[in-house]
């Protein structure tokens, strides 16, 4: 079955081609069916492959499709790698992706048929690129998918391209990604220069302890910079909150199933290299933790429902990087999985709310939606509980695993991590409370239109809610129930080498119990605080915020900072190059040559008098000059 893995990305590609080429002729229902069916088919194939991979003793299979590049020493086959890690990502991408497609059929219903088809075509292409990224058996194929998701995110963020701001957001996402991509590309070149191959199997088998540590540190740092671009970490995270310009299901797709998990996947895939570069791991852990805290603090003061979720994604991605940094690869991948469930759920729930509110995204103008939209409200609550990390929801297990590994690594990391988790709990319940609890604060017109969303929206919500509850049960930690961490056993072959190179630290079960219960109590406390504080919120309380709140509301002024230290100087240099170098220098040179030739020709033209005698005279003078030259300077000619 694993030989048929090429079917998985092929279905979305076919869906993309059909919807993209037939966007002006296909009727809307058919477009939705094609788009969703492509993903469903991929999901079914992924399940079958998963079934095979699950059997004990399965070893990674490489499926060679064709020679992609074969020049001299460089041999890049177009090959797919089927192993535990890629199969897990396949399931997440196609499964969650399918639900988002189904949801989109209803959410995007107001679009004209051709842009509806365009939307689904992009969506399918997005999934296709992501599948290519996780399936490739070498860094080049991964890079193709890597660029593909970058392109698709640009297309989808700027989907409503008539709005200039949205285009600006799309451009920002693209440019920020490109910065990371460049580092990734250089990393790939370096890998090739160092190991003579870009295939995972060759590279990882050659990377041994004792292999030049500086080189490995350099390579892994470059790859990590690539990951910061795609996975929205400091310093390249600012595109992700702006990416909210796209339709809400696109945000769900970007944040849950595709795109931002690419960086995590890449590092988890290269875990062998990272385990041999402890310096890089330290950097990753610190950057991940800083991002987690920074984004969580910003989320506390945001009033746009999607912005809050966007910053929570950045924050959760920070946790994943923290996990990668402390060597908890399983934990990071586990968190990718649970995060995919509850973040997709939260975004789709937010979409349902926005849909009902007629496009309103400011949570201060919502409130009391619980009684109008019971299904959305309950599923959203489950999502909040899961992301806050409350037992027994999915987020609890994955976050606990990362944090306990961080504790084993360094208790300081753990304390800061818990701080971020408390902020997460607070802002998620602030969001829930402002949106669903209390009294409705919008206009009468909006209140009149409030309704529960149709089945195509609620069913994916329910499915994701169920997954957000049970999704964590595949990774019950060792101290709660021995041998219950199914995921860890499943992924063991992928991370085995790293665990040998850098054995995970052990902490006593009693400490783990204490840490878990302690943090759980704190988190529940913060959830309640966040909920109660904003339960009776009224618009009258809205006033100009001051001090720290104002800084948080303005996102620590990071955008302004980047504007001042990067964008402005570059603009200035560009203006200088344009006005001075280009207009005076280059243009002056080019026009000067033209003018000189024109002037010179105007003068020389006077010689053409039409008098044959003068022509002959000139000829004779020319010959005499040649004679003289020949006579006095015989070496000249």
């Amino acid at each position: 079955m694993s030989q048929l893995v090429y079917l998985v990305p092929m279905f979305p590609l076919i869906g993309f081609l059909i919807n993209g080429l037939g966007r002006n002729v296909l009727p809307k229902p058919l477009v939705g069916i094609i788009g969703s069916a492509a993903l469903l088919a991929s999901f079914v194939v992924s399940l079958l492959i998963f079934n095979e991979v699950r059997t004990p003793g399965f070893s990674a299979v490489t499926v060679n499709l064709f020679d992609f590049i074969h020049v001299g020493k460089l041999n890049v086959p177009f090959a797919f790698q089927v192993d535990q890690l890629s199969v897990l990502f396949l399931l997440i991408i196609t499964g969650v992706g399918f639900l988002i497609h189904v949801y989109s059929t209803s959410y995007m219903h107001d679009e004209s048929p051709s842009s509806y088809a365009r939307y689904f075509a992009y969506l399918n292409l997005f999934v296709f690129s992501m599948l290519l990224l996780v399936l490739g058996s070498n860094y080049v194929i991964m890079f193709i998918g890597w660029e593909g998701v970058g392109l698709c995110s640009y297309l989808l963020i700027g989907f409503w391209f008539k709005n200039a701001d949205y285009n600006y957001a799309a451009r920002k996402a693209f440019v920020m990604n490109r910065i990371g991509d460049l580092a990734f590309l250089i990393g790939i070149f370096w890998i090739f220069a160092q190991f003579g191959s870009v295939n995972y199997a060759d590279v990882f088998s050659q990377a041994r302890p004792g292999a030049s540590a500086h080189v490995l540190t350099g390579i892994t740092l470059l790859l990590f910079i690539g990951a910061t671009g795609k996975s929205a970490q400091i310093p390249l995270y600012t595109w992700l909150p702006d990416a909210m310009a796209g339709p809400t299901p696109v945000s769900a797709l970007i944040h849950a199933a595709t795109m931002v998990t690419a960086g995590i996947y890449m590092i988890a895939r290269s875990n062998v290299l990272y385990s041999l570069a402890p310096a890089t791991q330290g950097v990753i852990a610190v950057i991940g933790l800083c991002t987690a805290i920074l984004a969580a603090s910003i989320a506390i003061q945001q009033n746009d429902i999607k912005k809050v979720l966007a910053y929570s994604t950045v924050s959760q991605l920070g946790y994943m990087f923290l996990g990668l940094g402390v060597g908890a690869y399983t934990g990071a991948v586990f968190h990718v999985m649970t995060h995919a469930f509850f973040k997709a759920l939260l975004f789709l729930g937010a979409g349902s709310v926005i849909h009902a509110m007629g496009g309103e995204q400011d949570i201060r103008k919502m409130g009391g939606l619980r009684k109008f939209m019971p299904v959305t409200s309950i599923t959203f609550l489950i999502g909040c509980l899961a992301i806050a990390g409350i037992f027994p929801f999915a987020g609890f297990f994955s976050k606990d695993e990362i944090l306990s590994r961080a504790y084993a690594h360094n208790p300081v990391l753990y304390v800061i991590g818990i701080l971020g988790a408390l902020m997460t709990a607070f802002y998620m319940f602030r969001l829930y409370s402002l949106t669903f609890a209390g009294k409705f604060r919008g206009t009468h017109d909006q209140e009149h239109h409030l309704h529960e969303s149709p089945a195509a929206i609620t069913i994916p919500l329910i499915v994701l809610a169920v997954l957000s509850v049970v999704g964590g049960w595949v990774g019950i930690p060792e101290f709660m129930a021995p041998n219950a961490h199914v995921l860890s056993k499943f992924l063991e072959p992928v991370f085995a080498n790293s665990h040998v190179a850098a054995p995970p630290g052990e902490i006593a079960a009693s400490t783990e119990w204490a840490l878990t219960i302690g943090s759980l109590v704190l988190i529940i406390g913060f959830c309640t605080w966040g909920y109660m504080k904003f339960k009776n919120f009224t618009l009258a309380e809205v006033k100009e915020s001051t001090g720290l709140a104002k800084i948080l509301e303005n996102k620590w002024y990071v955008d302004e900072l980047y504007d001042a230290i990067i964008v402005k100087p570059i603009n200035w240099i560009a203006g200088f190059l344009n006005n001075v170098v280009e207009k005076l220098g280059i243009d002056g040179l080019v026009n000067g040559v033209g003018k000189l030739v024109q002037y010179g020709s105007r003068q020389i033209r006077l010689l053409q008098s039409g008098q044959v005698g003068i022509y002959v005279l000139l000829m004779v003078i020319g010959i005499v000059v040649l004679f003289v030259l020949q006579l006095f300077f015989p070496n000249l000619i």
Binding site: G610, Q611, V612, V616, L617, V620
Partner: protein, 113 residues
């Protein structure tokens, strides 16, 4: 006879030709001056060829009856080409006269415009 004499004669003839071309306006006289220059060159070629032959024949022994006479071949070529040129040139002059009733070359400056 030393070859210098031939050279001086040829140079004088050539210069007369050049000056004639430069100073005269009558197309037929210009034409004749061109012929003069051509024949000055012919004279030089023949003279050098003869001088060269004298040396080459001694070096080559009895077999060298035609050694070093290539220059004379060129002279024949030049004469043939000159004859062809004259026929074309005279035809042009005849046409010119028919059109302008003049053989003054300075009169033909319309290409200037």
């Amino acid at each position: 006879m030393p070859i210098n004499y031939y050279i001086f004669l040829a140079v004088i003839l050539f210069c007369i030709g050049v000056v004639g071309v430069l100073t005269r306006r009558n197309a037929i006289i210009i034409f004749m001056c061109i012929e003069l220059m051509l024949n000055a060159v012919n004279l030089l070629l023949v003279a050098f060829s003869k001088a060269h032959h004298a040396v080459a024949a001694i070096n080559a022994g009895p077999a060298g009856t035609t050694a070093g006479t290539d220059g004379q071949m060129f002279v024949f070529f030049i004469m043939v080409v000159a004859a062809a040129e004259v026929s074309v040139g005279l035809a042009i002059i005849v046409m010119m006269y028919r059109n302008t009733h003049s053989v003054d070359v300075n009169f033909l400056n319309r290409l200037k415009h």
